[in-house]
Amino acid sequence: MVRVEHLNQTFLRTKKLPHIWCPGCGNGIVTAALVRAVERAGFAQRDVVIVSGIGCSSRAAGYLNFNTLHATHGRALAFATGLKLSQPQLKIFVIMGDGDCSAIGGNHFIHAARRNIDLNAVIINNYIYGMTGGQHSPLTPAGRKSTTAPAGTLERPFELLELARGAGATFGARGSAAQPRQLEQLIVQGARHKGFAVIEALSPCPTYYGRKNRQGGPVEMLRALKDSSVSVEGASGLDPAELSEKLVTGVIYVKDAPEYTEQYYRSTGKEPG
């Protein structure tokens, strides 16, 4: 386990801790990975901005000592798009939950990907709306239960990274709270990538998703996440049947394409402002 004391204190609003998340929630692990990633990437504190939407995960912004913008539900990427264009040097991390990003924010997600704007979208996917008490999201696997799908959801989930790839994202990676060091590396790679980077971070919600779907407590859920994870390299040796049971982690895709902010200012031939 990573302990808070080991993190760079200047990047944390320690007075705002302890956080509001439930015991066993993975949001703290992902947030810690993000803090370490910012440090490893070597970004200046003043250039780093955290934008978040609404939901459990979005409360991370309040604990991080940068300029932080806790926006409205689903709209974090649209807020971030305006901010990035106003100050292109900013390194913007957009923290969203699965519902926030892919349901109410789905339109902004695909269009940020289409523009290939240099934002780092960190989606904490716990398969559930936590803040409102356990409803299924577009990333909840089919058949899983929620308070609004007592017999299990009939809906099929998005494959988030493929959705982003189809829409034009140029970096897609998946990690989880079960492997925070890998997650940290993935965030660093995404942040250094010029273009729209999507990092899906699987994270346990023992309080709602775990309880509704008999996944056990925090330890069991983290272990299950870890056991089902397989690296991109490892996955190449598996047959499709085996792979369908697995969570492939690592950089899923990366490619070069023109970045929107840079393109914009090049087209105008002017400096911002």
Partner: protein, 376 residues
């Protein structure tokens, strides 16, 4: 102020030019009739001045990006019409709560719903006031001419910055689409109010004592912006004392600067027996009627035109109600602002609505005929 050669300009273009003159360097929006010319003009002009134009994926993203850019230190504006204005409401509330300056233009069209996109109406008066949820303050200007559009846009931008408060420019299809003669000042000759770049040593992002400047992100002052109730530092608080103080402060700043945000003008008789109170394009019809009634017929009539409709110019209307026997309120809706006029007339004058809701302007004759009936 030096004014140069008069030019023919469309209302929507005057809005865009006014914004640029006032230092707006960011526009994000979504195409919608009858406001689209604002976006089109911004798309051409902003890149020339180092600004950013971006057409977003929807109306909500338009206002969201505007708020984002404003947090980044760019003066920002978005424009829309009724249906899009409805979609923007949640984020307008965010900007009020988080005290992010921005200007939202609504070129009103006939509604409800898709209505008649190219027909004029003044049906969004109450939406402009109460469209977003919660008990919020708002500033709304309503221009009656291309000239007023230019200058009220500048005022909207400046006051939005000063008060850290969204300002709505409630135009209508008539003013938005018509072209008329305007005098545009030379660039740089117009006062654009700029907040001091200096950050006070005891700066708090949301200072209880007054108007703390918005320090743009990226300048090394780390703070939190949220739509949750928050304390002076910007961090969420559910403390009842903090909550009530925040709300009182949001309302209080408009009350305190009421004289700066209230624009009205009066023409007509010094001691009128009958007055007209109106706003937007209907002012034009009322002015024509007043010219005939007062200048030609010498009837004791006057016209109070409201460039600011919210906060409602209560004192001005109250004073007028003390003077006159009757106040006529022509509006291109089924009666919206008339309720406020009635409220602040406090029974001192009879308040008579004059409504038209067929997608056409109220004519000077309609107003004149009402006056004639009164004086007959």
């Amino acid at each position: 102020m030096t004014e140069v050669k008069p030019v023919l300009m469309q209302g929507n273009v005057a809005c865009a030019e006014g914004a640029i003159t006032a230092g707006v360097r960011f526009y994000a929006g979504y195409p919608i009739t009858p406001s689209t010319e604002i976006a089109e003009h911004m798309a051409e002009r902003l890149p020339q001045v180092g600004g950013v134009f971006i057409q977003m994926e929807d109306e909500i993203a338009g206002i969201a990006a505007v708020i984002g850019a404003s947090v980044g230190g760019m003066r920002a504006l978005t424009a829309t019409s009724g249906p899009g204005f409805s979609l923007k409401q949640e984020n307008i509330g965010y900007a009020i709560m988080a005290e992010i300056p921005c200007v939202i233009v609504n070129v009103q069209r006939m509604g409800p719903s898709t209505g008649i996109p190219t027909a004029p109406a003044q049906g969004d008066v109450m939406q402009a006031r109460w469209g977003t949820h919660g008990d919020h303050p708002i500033v709304v200007f309503s221009p009656a001419s291309v000239y007023e559009t230019f200058y009220l846009t500048i005022a909207a931008v400046n006051l939005s910055q000063k008060l850290r408060q969204p300002v709505i420019l409630l135009m209508d299809e008539v003013v938005g689409h018509m072209r008329e003669k305007v005098l545009i000042p030379e660039v740089g000759k117009l006062l654009v109010e700029k907040a001091s770049d200096e950050i006070p040593p005891d700066w708090k992002p949301y200072d209880d004592k007054g108007l703390a400047p918005l320090v743009p992100f990226g300048s090394g002052h780390y703070y939190h912006v949220t739509g949750l109730f928050h304390d002076e530092s910007g961090f969420p608080s559910g403390d009842p004392a903090v909550v009530s103080r925040s709300l009182e402060r949001l309302h209080g700043k408009l009350e305190k600067y009421r004289h700066e945000v209230t624009f009205t003008s009066y023409i007509g008789h010094k001691e009128p027996r009958v007055a007209i109170v109106t706003y937007g394009c209907t002012v034009r019809s009322a002015r024509a009627a007043i010219k005939k009634a007062y200048w030609q017929n010498r009837w004791p009539v006057g016209l109070l035109s409201l460039q600011t409709i919210w906060p409602f110019p209560a004192k001005e209307v109250e004073a007028l109600a003390r003077q006159v026997e009757m106040i006529m309120v022509p509006e291109m809706n089924m009666g919206q602002l008339v309720g406020e006029v009635e409220r602040y007339s406090r029974g001192r004058a009879e308040v008579v609505p004059l409504n038209r809701y067929d997608g056409e302007m109220i004519t000077p004759d309609q107003i004149f005929d009402q006056l004639r009936r009164w004086f007959a």
